[in-house]
């Protein structure tokens, strides 16, 4: 019955359109809401149809009266004006009648609203994060938990600029798609990293604003497999029109297969990006160029010249050619009060790549290289202010040096992030220990490498062990007998602070 009404409505509207503009009547015109692919969507579709019809009926009635008056009560046909100007009961009636109609409308509206907001008992929970200008997805709970990726517009610039013919899914296509199983309740947690966006897929009947700093939720349960396309629906700056959403609904089996392939890819990526991997400058640049193309190019432009003053040039910029710590901090933490967002959500390797690329592209020829390990170390500062972040990395506290210089054990040898060779400060304290051991020929020491629980624990432990070994080797090279050194298993410290305590090897007198 309701669907029939909807069909009649569509047909009528189409007929009206055909009458209005016969010349263009053969093109494909979409006149109504997209065909819903959820049960709730059908309810809403019908609700819209019914309310529209009530409006049409009232409209026709009221203006039927008006046009009758226009036709029959004209002065030109000799109609004489009556002089009535109020009627109590008529006025009461046309106050009450709309009130009753509205009350009737509120019943289905309330019901569907309560359904719309019921996000309980979800089978799968996915977090969507809006960025200027792409979406990030994290599968939080349910089958596929742990999958995480970004999704940006894949329509080539040439199509947008009109130098190439536009494809079928122009502006509604992305490099990666959100995959969900059919018939399962999917709860979407929606948030944003910079400004307000809105996650909207019309055919799935979901639209939820993505508010930075807050997590809101919505849900859908797709009825049929297929590909469904939507867009950001809240003005979010320059490329608001260019951050689409593509959701692919798959059968349960296909979905499981997709999850398996994603997990396999993640494993491969984890190996390829192991923290101790030695990156070359060219590898980082190549990776960075790709990261730049999907994250930075919209503002800073392919030429690196930006669109000043809102989006400054990187080519020749003070930050991109200055100390690399400052550059890295800018990319990681953004700059408050400007369009420069924080990019901490990218992986260490991506950030290392893009910073390295920016320092060596266009007019920038620093020859510098920022390694993923350095990025990891800079992250150790957490949400530290931009300027403070790199400080932990370079400053050797005078007190620590002094402690080392006295030669008193225990001593701590510090390391730069991700490296198995001691930092300058570390070398100083190591030298002091060597001097101490040379003068006290019977002193014995135990050596312990420390790490923390941030990131990949196995890799951290391995690094701590390597560092301990490097200390032993250094002591032996300086002539300390192997028997005087006992190796302890690596230990962890609680994450937090500047991370420095997690990058040390302790040398203590053996008890």
């Amino acid at each position: 019955m309701r669907n029939k009404l909807a069909q009649i409505f569509a047909a009528l509207s189409k007929a009206a359109m055909l009458l209005m503009i016969p010349a263009v009547a053969f093109a494909e015109y979409k006149l109504n809401l997209q065909t819903p692919n959820t049960a709730l969507g059908h309810t809403i579709f019908d609700l819209h149809t019914i309310i529209t019809w009530i409006c049409v009926v009232v409209f026709v009635l009221v203006f039927g009266f008006m046009f009758y008056a226009v036709y029959a009560h004209r002065k030109s046909v000799g109609h004489k004006a009556a002089n009535f100007h109020e009627h109590f009961w008529v006025e009461v009636a046309w106050t009450l009648a709309p009130a009753i109609i509205l009350l009737t409308m509120m019943v289905p509206a309330t019901k569907s609203l309560v359904m719309l907001r019921d996000t309980s008992d979800a089978d799968l929970t996915i977090k969507a994060t809006g960025y200027q200008w792409k979406w990030g997805y994290d599968y939080i709970r349910g089958e596929g938990e742990g999958i995480s990726f970004y999704s940006s517009l894949s329509t080539p610039q040439a199509q947008i600029q009109g130098t190439e013919p536009k494809g079928e899914h122009y502006l509604l296509e992305t490099d990666t798609v959100v995959v969900v199983p059919v018939g399962k309740k999917v709860r979407m947690l929606v948030t944003a990293a910079d400004v307000i966006h809105a996650w909207w897929v019309p055919a799935l009947s979901v639209k939820q604003d993505a508010v930075p700093g807050f997590i809101r939720d919505t849900w859908f349960k797709a009825e049929k497999p297929g590909i469904f396309r939507g867009q950001c629906a809240e003005l979010c700056g320059k490329d608001h029109g260019f951050m689409p959403i593509v959701v692919e609904v798959k059968s349960a089996a296909d979905y499981s297969a997709w999850v398996a392939s994603q997990k396999a890819n993640m494993k491969k990526a984890a190996v390829a990006e192991a923290p101790d991997k030695a990156w070359t400058l060219d590898e980082l640049k190549a990776r960075g160029e790709k990261v730049y193309a999907s994250n930075c190019v919209a503002c800073h432009q392919a030429s690196g010249m930006g669109l000043p003053p809102t989006f400054p040039a990187l080519s020749g910029s003070k930050i991109a050619t200055g100390p690399k710590e400052g550059h890295l901090a800018m990319v990681l933490n953004g700059k408050a009060g400007t369009a420069m967002a924080a990019f901490k959500h990218l992986s260490d390797a991506d950030i290392a790549g893009v910073v390295t690329y920016e320092r060596n592209a266009w007019a920038n020829k620093t020859g510098d290289m920022v390694t993923p390990a350095e990025v990891k170390a800079a992250r150790g500062g957490g949400a530290a202010p931009v300027a403070a972040a790199p400080a932990a990395e370079v400053v050797a506290p005078a007190a620590a040096v002094a402690a080392g210089a006295t030669g008193a054990l225990p001593a701590a040898v510090y390391y730069d992030s991700g490296k198995a060779t001691a930092s300058a400060e570390g070398k100083t304290s190591l030298d002091a220990v060597i001097a101490h051991l040379k003068t006290n020929a019977d002193a014995k020491v135990e050596v312990t490498g420390y790490t923390d629980k941030a990131g990949n624990l196995a890799a951290n432990m391995e690094l701590a062990k390597q560092r301990a070994v490097s200390v032993r080797d250094a002591l032996m090279a300086a002539g300390v007998a192997k028997e005087r050194i006992s190796m302890k298993p690596p230990a962890t410290v609680e994450a937090g602070g500047d991370g420095k305590q997690a990058r040390r090897v302790d040398i203590k007198p053996t008890a």
Partner: protein, 535 residues
Amino acid sequence: MSTATHDAAHGHDHGHDDHAHEHKPYGMMRWVGSTNHKDIGTMYLWFSFTMFLVGGVMALIIRAELFQPGLQIVRPEFFNSMTTYHGLIMVFGAIMPAFVGFANWLIPMQIGAPDMAFPRMNNLSFWLLPPAAMLLIAAQFAPGGGAGVGWTMYAPLTTQAGPAMDLTIFAVHILGMSSIMGSINIITTILNMRAPGMGLMKMPLFCWTWLITAYLLVASMPVLAGAVTMTLTDRHFGTNFFNAAGGGDPVLYQHIFWFFGHPEVYIIAIPAFGVVSQVIPAFSRKPLFGYASMVYATASIAILSFMVWAHHMYTVGMPVETQLFFMYATTLIAIPTGVKVFNWVATMWKGSLTFETPMLFALGFLFLFTLGGFTGLVLSIVPVDVQIHDTYYVVAHFHYVMVAGALFSAFAGIYFWLPKWTGRMYNETLGKWHFWLSLVFFNVTFFVQHFLGLAGMPRRVPDYALQFAEFNAISSVGAFGFGLSQLLFLYIVLKCICSGEKALDKQWEGADSIEWTMLPSPAPYHSFTTPPTIK
């Protein structure tokens, strides 16, 4: 009481009943220093028309870019700036000043007063407008171009914008000050300067609608000023009102903005109701049906307008109970609005109708505003709104209410009172052409946008997917037709002022308010130097 105020207000004119002795300054200073309600009204109207053309050109840039998919004419950031300033200029620069212009011209003449209560403040409230307009236009040339944040200026996007944002914020401050001063003036004039016998419930409905609107302005403009000031301090002084990282809430901005923004909709619509309530009875030759219920309905709409703001924010993620409250409150507005529409139709019923240009525009208003009201009802239903919020359906909806509503009613008012203002008649044939061209092109532009929104085209995008191409092309053609039709209006008005035929004192047979029955055409420089006696 009213007599005493009246005498004080025009003391220096006392005894100069002969209008041949009007002392008006000549040249530029007449306008710069004017304290005369008619001169100031005229300036408001010309200012408004100028802004209407500026905002119109921006609209045409938008429509030109959207004529075809792809980016052909402008860059996305410039496009965003155009949508932003088109909205700001049309709302604050064109529509609001137009109705303040009407208020200035008409309120003293309709209540039997010589002028407004505070003539010098009246001068100031007009002369604040040009600097504000200059700030809005200068923002286009600020480093980085205009702020592409939308006329609603949502945080935290505004925190990212360039210096243009600051110019825009200051412009909004100035416009707000101007509106508040104008409102205080209107309230005081209506409450204190009515002629003896002109009881509140005897005032022409236009005065009633402005009295209510003025209260809305006084209550809501400071709220907007607060919201943009908080944006300003977030931008420059390290506050975190709208910055979640600092403990603020971006959605707070929306609550504050729409607490102003929804009454603002009625600030624009209610004086339009007033104009139409004057025009329809005049051409029906029959008194307005349900005068008292019109007053009560208008007041109810005004009060309700402060309780429905969050229906602009159904998708931000409010608790379901809050959404239900705002949905119910919003649909309530349909009741008094319905009463008004029924009253207008009942006024025409069994009248003796003629269809001069003002009546045509008033009927255009009635028909299209009601259509916009119905799409508003559709939008008020939360689950449906979730589908069409921030789409072209909304764009179509508010252009039906703002353009076919407020603008058509302003045209009706101008054609209606032009003979009284200038003492000359406009060309009726050209006026009708203006109406029919506007009506047809308006619908070509905006009716199809309903379909675009339903099918899923978001608003404020410079480019769109291919399935939206046909309707966008149609809409753009309509927009250019509509824009060009308004040049005809300029020609009609200029021709009327320069060489129109002499108008009668009571040009319209059915007009019964005292500016028609007691004053000559053109109306004298000081409307009523001695208070008329109202039966």
